[in-house]
């Protein structure tokens, strides 16, 4: 169980030409643009770093042609800068980009990747033989990763029925109920009402893919979803192309605090467009999310939140981005713009 497996950058979708130089530049940009200060300390470099063939001992190996200073040099650079490297693997016979899959080689690959210096992997359940039970594959890799070291984060992207019930038992530290490659990986709230999550196995809502044209509003909405569901947050982007406005949204301290909260209690829908989450230190988060194409009035009721009239309690609500404050006795109605959201930290007074 790794305590800080929550925030990172991913190059999987945004980078089609992986080189050791680009990885180092990305690490530099993560620091320069303030992402590492905000807590983003994982960098997932996908699968394009791998050679298309295993070596003579059957081990995964780096593509030497793209690492001018050697792969070890890249790993050292990441470690020196406090960045934990992640990769994309496959539970099946090949990865999405045709690199070796880990089917029937789970223990070898876990040992190899950990020995190379990776500390995180998205294990994609694709290209699996049709008659093979995916749950067994999840258990295999869960155990294989675990016995390498307690700091090897295993994220299982498995689309079997009810994987949210099975995920924790397989040893996954993070789980998704969709394959990584088989969907757009837009960050979405859990399909089922609970999207079960706990400190030892976090539910993953999806990547936040950020391009030059991605609106601040859209980024905020997806970050709010991640935060309210305690989902790890991976920004798939070219860090050097992020605008200052985009960075500002991604590094909001209050929202990151909600996301990385140690109680890991799930958000709960308490009204139309309204979710609430208990945080540590007796604080709370409330989000008003408008998914429609028109502006909408959304109302937060303290009764639904759990405050009875007889309690004498009130909510003091502070919006994470605008810093607008409200003292609420029974309800708060706000007009939320189309496709936008307000998210509040809440203190009870």
């Amino acid at each position: 169980m790794v305590k800080d497996k929550r925030l990172g950058v991913s190059l999987i979708r945004s980078c089609s030409e992986m080189t050791g130089k680009y990885i180092r530049e990305t690490i530099d940009n993560m620091k320069k643009r303030g992402l590492t200060d905000a807590g983003y300390d994982y960098l997932n470099i996908g699968d394009l770093w791998m050679d298309t063939a295993r070596d003579e001992n059957g081990k995964i190996r780096p593509d030497a042609s793209i690492f001018e200073n050697g792969f070890d040099g890249t790993v050292r650079y990441a470690a020196e800068n406090g960045i934990k490297l992640g990769t994309l693997t496959s539970a099946g016979t090949r990865t999405i980009h045709g690199r070796p899959g880990s089917f029937d080689r789970e223990y070898l690959d876990a040992e190899t990747l950990y020995g190379m210096g990776f500390r995180y992997f998205n294990h994609d359940f694709i290209y699996i033989p049709a008659r093979f039970d995916k749950t067994i594959l999840a258990r295999r890799m869960g155990h294989a990763a675990r016995i390498q070291g307690g700091d090897f984060v295993y994220a299982a992207f498995c689309d079997t029925d009810d994987f949210e019930i099975r995920a924790a038992s397989t040893g996954a530290d993070i789980y998704s109920v969709k394959t990584f490659s088989g969907n757009d990986s837009v960050c979405e709230p859990p399909v089922k009402t609970y999207g079960f999550s706990a400190d030892s196995c976090l539910y993953y809502c999806g990547d936040i893919v950020v391009g030059k044209e991605t609106s601040v509003r859209d980024i905020k909405r997806q970050l709010v979803i991640s935060a309210m569901n305690s989902s790890p947050c991976n920004i798939d982007c070219k860090v050097e192309e992020l605008t200052d406005e985009q960075i500002s949204v991604l590094t909001n301290g209050d929202l990151i605090g909600i996301l990385t909260d140690r109680e890991v209690r799930p958000a709960r829908k308490i009204g139309e467009g309204i979710t609430a989450k208990f945080l540590e230190n007796d604080r709370y988060a409330v989000a008003l999310v408008n998914d429609s194409d028109e502006d909408r009035e959304l109302t937060f009721y303290t009764y639904d939140f759990g405050i009875s009239v007889t309690s004498g309690l009130k909510c003091e609500m502070t919006e994470c981005y605008t810093k607008d404050r409200y003292t609420v006795e029974d309800s708060l109605t706000l007009t939320v713009p189309a496709k936008d959201s307000f998210v509040f930290t809440v203190d009870i007074i």
């Binding site: 169980m1 029937d104 789970e106 155990h143 099975r166």
Partner: protein
């Protein structure tokens, strides 16, 4: 308050029902310390239903401790005594207008009652689910008490006891609870605990650090005596209690003893204090067990935080039988480069597993093995 591991303690209900008093509670506290339960990790002494009167104080609205149990309606001497033994105190409340024993309920008084408990130094609240207005939503009521307990001025474990109604496992974590009951009450019979854990196998994935699925108070050691005994039933046995305790530990359930700890047989005291079993329960990752189903029996497997496994074989038949599993079902592969060392938790016997390890399990009993992958 973040509760990383399942709470451990004692509750009055299974043995005493409503028939306890201050003296009994002090003796319980003494026994918890003198008989080694506290050293094993049991820390809460939870006073269940019937500690209060049927009405509140007219002026203050506060709950009044029952004078027949606590002289002068003063519960503080009892609670202070429990604290003086290095233990923690627990108390019973109810979401409704009355408790299950028709004493005062906390409906619309959650904040006042939470503050009262805080003033008294309570460390744990069991919140039952009787006699609530039919139009009230369980989730809202449990969230109310969750908020009340967080703002009353004292940290307390919040044990929600709504017996699994309204798919509680889908929302209780969001209400601030540290544990939740998801079945009706346990009885001191073999079938009772078997039915409870079997009903939770597919919901085991809903438990985890911070909020644990509570399989109910243990009946281990009760031997047909006490409030939840079933007249005429003789199905309880040492093997059965061993199976119950091992199952509760595999499920990372709170371990709340229900037997009379003052005089429970030493063999059950030893079972309840078994360090290896408690370590399974208290594993920091609290990963749920999964079932490996065979034709007519089931093996339960739990992955521990250190990478080892615990395998529980439960035989609910009268007759002994050989039970086995295939190593590959727990993630072993032919080419993994490891051998699997097995250790019987109860006997200490060790062996290297073949691909189809089996154990002889006596009737209505269990075997519990540790499996560890060892590099070839």
């Amino acid at each position: 308050m973040i509760r990383k591991t399942p709470p451990m303690g004692f509750n009055t209900f299974n043995t005493f029902g409503e028939t306890y008093n201050e003296q009994v509670l002090k003796e319980i506290a003494d026994a918890m310390v003198d008989r080694g339960f506290k050293d094993a990790g049991y820390e809460y002494v939870v006073i269940d239903d019937a500690w209060s009167l049927e009405w509140r104080d007219e002026k203050t609205g506060r709950i009044i401790p029952r004078p027949g149990k606590f002289p002068n309606s003063d519960i503080l001497p009892t609670l202070n005594y429990i604290h003086s033994k290095g233990l923690k105190t627990g108390i019973y409340a109810d979401v409704g207008v009355k408790t299950c024993g028709t004493k005062v309920g906390s409906f619309d008084y959650e904040m006042l009652d939470a503050r009262t408990f805080a003033e008294w130094g309570i460390d744990y609240v069991k919140h039952d689910n009787c006699l609530k207005p039919e139009t009230q939503d369980d989730e809202v009521l449990y969230r109310r008490m969750g908020i009340a307990l967080r703002h009353c001025g004292r940290e307390m474990v919040y044990s929600a006891s709504n017996w699994g109604w309204d798919n509680v496992w889908t929302w209780i974590r969001s209400c601030g609870a540290h544990s939740f009951r998801s079945t009706g009450d346990i009885c001191d019979t073999f079938d009772s605990f078997v039915n409870i854990f079997k009903s939770q196998v597919l919901k085991a994935g809903m438990t985890g650090p911070g909020c644990f699925n509570d399989l109910d108070m243990l009946t281990v050691g009760m031997e047909g005596k006490g409030n939840v005994a079933v007249e005429g039933d003789s199905s309880h046995s040492e093997a059965g209690y061993r199976t119950q305790f091992a199952t509760w530990c595999m499920f990372s359930s709170p371990l709340i003893m229900g037997c009379d700890v003052r005089n429970v047989d030493d063999k059950y005291r030893d079972l309840l204090c078994n360090k290896e079993l408690i370590a399974i329960d208290q594993d920091p990752e609290a990963r749920p067990p999964y079932a490996i189903a065979h034709d007519d029996w089931t093996t339960y497997c739990k992955l521990m935080s250190d990478g080892t496994f615990r395998l529980l074989f439960i035989n609910t038949d009268e007759n002994p039988r050989k039970m086995h599993f295939v190593l590959h079902d727990i993630g072993y592969t032919t080419n993994c480069g490891y051998s699997v060392k097995m250790t019987d938790i109860f006997s200490g016997e060790e062996f290297i597993a073949d691909l189809f390890p089996g154990v002889e399990v006596p009737g209505k009993d269990c075997r519990l093995l540790k499996a560890e992958f060892v590099k070839d």
